[in-house]
Symmetry: C4
Subunit: 275 residues, 4 copies
């Protein structure tokens, strides 16, 4: 990860997954309001989507793992150099382990969707585990680095911890659209923050990194982190508007009579009270 | 914010909102006991109140944002001074960002009350988010300041964190008057604590600030913080007594027969068991 | 508090209350199993007990407050000495404030039991508040003291925080005997720990306090704290055995026929499944 | 504990209990799906298993307590050496106390299974208490040791704290297989981590311990901890597969007709929806 690309890659992965999870949650919510009327809200499709999601996650994790191991300067699967008597590229192994746990999430997703006897909450636990492991590793990752470097990683630790925490609470509460969107917003925040770290530590212009002992930079990154979160909120808002509009307009084609529209209105009311 | 007025303004805002939220919770609770008999407890009115509340919150946030940007010595929307090569008034941007998130709460309140398909818990999440963001920013706000200054802001961080935490738990539990009043009491505490900070750091007499390295001052502010909380509890108690008396006396005018009073008594008992 | 008596007094108060709360919880649990058959389990009695409990708590708090203010060397209600320009006996004011919040708990208990419209969870919130305020004050209480002194107070902070936390969770969960006993065990632990602090810092023999920089003392106090907790568990176990035996033997007198005993057995089974 | 065996013993104990708890949870889950058809899922057997479990736990704790007290160099039940005026082997007493609390868990398990009037959640509370006490003692255990020694114990503190936390949440939620497996995985992690600590601090080869100030060792142990967790997950996965296969194949012998198999399939679906 010790370059711009190494931060842009996980950033992009998290952004894609964040957008996908937000879309999935909103679609489920929108379809639940218009229930029994569509193939898209059916259980069979959901299972297929879960399997696809798991496969994509697993693929991303494998790309990440291979990238960390076999990039020039990576550990190439060697853990200890017995000749020189020191560990080989432990930071690379750190990143490898993080990707590995996200790969496990993908595998669990696939297993929970194919083997019916497996409890669904297992996938949720693995999900929050992956984020907690990421938190744990990043927390012990920045020893001996400079203030600015440590600080941007601390913010990463903060957001991964919060993601894990929210995912963990989801095991105990019933499906709650607001909590799911909160989790997605944290994933988006993490994604764009990875990009920000890349820009700060390895500027694209090839110029020097930001002054790592100037406290003003830390003051700025504090608000910058919040603005990244605003961006995540805006993106989720846009997805919400778009998906809701899509589901509604799609339904209009089916129920082009006034009766259908009235029914929808009734259902909306019902499902809202249900929440 | 670097003067007395900059602390009195948010203090006043929080105090007004704290009193309002306590009043709203108690009114809802009192009307729930006498249900179906009044327009004031109806859903239509509640929606209008929510919209009004959102508008007021939004207005306060805009005033705060403008004040932080365009007061003499503010950043005037400039983030980076390329000539001199340093950030412009980052503390002002910090405050601006906090106000911005409270503005978002106002907007979400309005949206959740007008667009019926939006889940109500979204407004609660934005609410707790705003307090957590405030916690986060204040936590990274006082670098390099003196002990007393840091301490009064740490107490602020404590109370905003607790407010956010209580607001977050409200997403998961059913409406609970006691938890709502707890949250309101924290908001009141924050409001009066802002005033206290103003008095400590920028004494109105124009005299010097308190001795910032005398540990006795910190010892005093510790108990002072608790006394502010006692004040918040007393104010909420007074609001409770007043609102309950108001609702009861208002009902007497409608049901001036003994039958009505008996009915009320029955209802009270029922709704209490319901809690 | 700066002597042995100042620690023995709150220690005794907490021990009495801890034993009482454990007894109350176990009695409620035992009577619930044999329901509808006894005056002792009736709502009317419970209300009277709550009022009595509130009065006792309030009385203890008043004794504590007066003791802190008017003992020789106390602040005598003076907060600031304008002549000498320094605060008066802030540690005394700290203790005063803690007692004050426990007094508030007593007042809330009485109010919640007499005014029926008040929600019962309000008393629980004030209860957890009192412990959190105690945690907050003790946390900011030991500035500039020696290692051993700080450590014994840190353990106090730990146990008051846990008590507050458990009391706070009780707002959200249904009555749960195990959680109530956990809370009572923490209160007992706090009570006996106050005595331990007294013995450590102000030995009764009049000899010198323990060596406050010897780390072995801290190592010992760590296990000693656990043994205090074992003591609390044993005491609660004894109370449980005694109360259960008392309730059972008391019932035998009423239902001296085999039918009654069989009925009891049935009820036991029912109520256990209910839990 | 100050040698390899002192760490291998608790490590083995925790590993055995972790495997057993995982097996028990999965068996309960598997039998619940095929309910009313087997003696193995009956309440009577469960009670006996609980008593056996409690006895084994108690036995392990007694072995540990005796080992800590009466190994050469142990305290031999002496707490304070009045002649030399210092505490005797406080680290041994630390370990003794931890074992003692696990012994209490065993006793509570036995009591809750034999005395029917005792609430079942009491055993759960004692369970989480034992882990919290372990956390507390290990947290105050490593004063003045070297960086590596402190770090491996910090990771132990982390995992015992998480175990206690998950066990504590189990008091409030309904039986949830995923949470139970999470707890078991933490117990397994703790078990294998004890072995790892033994290998790190007291290498079997008799050679010197790892370089305790080389930060690379800490970097490695960070990922190593995660790999131990992966191992725990794999073991639980294997147990899950084996137990599920066992329960299914066992049922085939009973229901060798197609009707039985169909019924099973139906039940599986039902119980899954139930979750």
């Amino acid at each position: 990860m010790g370059n711009f690309k190494g931060h842009a890659l996980p950033g992009t992965f998290f952004y894609i997954m964040g957008i996908w999870w937000a879309t999935k949650s909103i679609m489920k919510y929108a379809f639940k309001k218009h229930k029994r009327t569509s193939y898209l809200g059916s259980k069979a499709l959901l299972h297929r989507i879960e399997i696809l999601e798991g496969t994509v996650l697993f693929g991303m994790a494998v790309i990440g793992m291979l990238g960390e191991q076999f990039n020039p300067g990576g550990p190439f699967l060697t853990l200890y150099d017995y000749k020189k008597g020191h560990w080989v590229q432990l930071l690379g192994w750190h990143h490898f382990t993080m990707y590995f746990f996200f790969g496990l999430v993908g595998v669990t997703n696939i297993l929970c969707s194919t083997i019916r006897s497996l409890p669904a909450s297992l996938a949720k636990i693995m999900f929050s585990n992956a984020f907690f492991v990421e938190t744990f590793i990043f927390y012990n990752h920045t020893h001996g680095r400079e203030m600015l470097d440590v600080y941007v990683h601390e913010l990463l630790v903060l957001v991964t911890f919060l993601t894990g925490l929210v995912a963990f609470t989801e095991i105990f509460v019933r499906t709650n659209i607001a909590v799911e969107l909160l989790r997605s917003s944290f994933v988006l925040l993490q994604g764009s923050w990875f990009w920000q770290i890349g820009f700060v530590l390895y500027p694209l212009s090839g110029g020097p990194a930001w002054d790592s002992v100037d406290h003003d930079n830390i003051m700025f990154l504090t608000v910058c982190f919040c603005w990244h979160y605003v961006l995540a909120i805006i993106i989720i808002g846009a997805i919400y508007a778009f998906v809701t509009w899509l589901v509604k307009s799609r339904f209009k084609r089916f129920f082009s009579s006034e009766v259908g529209l009235l029914k929808n209105a009734e259902r909306e009311q019902e499902s809202e009270e249900e929440m």
